[in-house]
Amino acid sequence: MPVRVTLDVMLARRKMRARDVAEKIGLSETQLSLLRNGKVRGMRFDTLSKLCLVLDCRPGDIIDYDVDETDLDA
């Protein structure tokens, strides 16, 4: 999938542990781990908002996109 979750990078930059972030935004550690590994179908806007608030960042700091011409065919 061309959309990548770059949460690990932000966690490292903010020197925060995934467990603490998960607790603050109301996700389980398992769910956050799945999100970090890109093993989810999507992310809700409220989850994204909470992550941005807790990590003090913008959505673009957490997710990235690699251009893929075949996306329009999906």
Partner: protein, 149 residues
């Protein structure tokens, strides 16, 4: 059978189901005393399934008020309600007439197919099937939603 819920509507529905079940049994006992019990008790088979569907409907009412929304319990309730309606309808259409015929003839006449094809029973069977398919689709949507965090 689902556990009793604290929801007032569900509780009221279940009490209603129990009352109907008791009344149905008493009515049958009054019309057909135990000594004459036989083929006519077969007539209770379809209502039993309908009552089960009603009971499951109470579960649906109860769970639809929960914060979990379209969760597994609600879907299970829908599925059971559909199964109850469909089984009840098919018992009323096929099993009941055939069994009654067999019992009344002392299982001596085993030939021929008996059925009671009424529009009401067909609609109930169709409604049951629709509920089962709806529950199945709901499970797929639930699985899709669970993929989002």
């Amino acid at each position: 059978m689902p556990a009793l819920s604290a929801s007032p509507i569900a509780l009221a529905l279940r009490i209603f189901v129990l009352i109907v079940a008791v009344l149905l049994g008493l009515k049958h006992l009054a019309i057909y005393p135990a000594s004459e019990a036989g083929a006519d008790w077969i007539g209770l088979a379809a209502p039993v399934f309908y009552l089960w569907a009603f009971w499951s409907g109470a579960e649906v009412f109860s769970k639809s008020r929960d914060a979990a929304g379209f969760g597994p319990a609600l879907l299970s309730g829908l599925n059971q309600m559909g199964a109850g309606l469909m089984l009840g309808a098919w018992v009323a259409i096929l099993a009941e007439p055939a069994l009654r015929h067999l019992v009344q003839n002392g299982f001596t006449v085993m030939t021929g197919v008996r059925f009671d094809l009424t529009l009401a029973n067909l609609v109930l069977a169709f409604a049951g099937l629709t509920l089962i398919l709806l529950a199945r689709r709901g499970r797929q949507i639930r699985a899709e939603l669970d993929g989002f965090v």
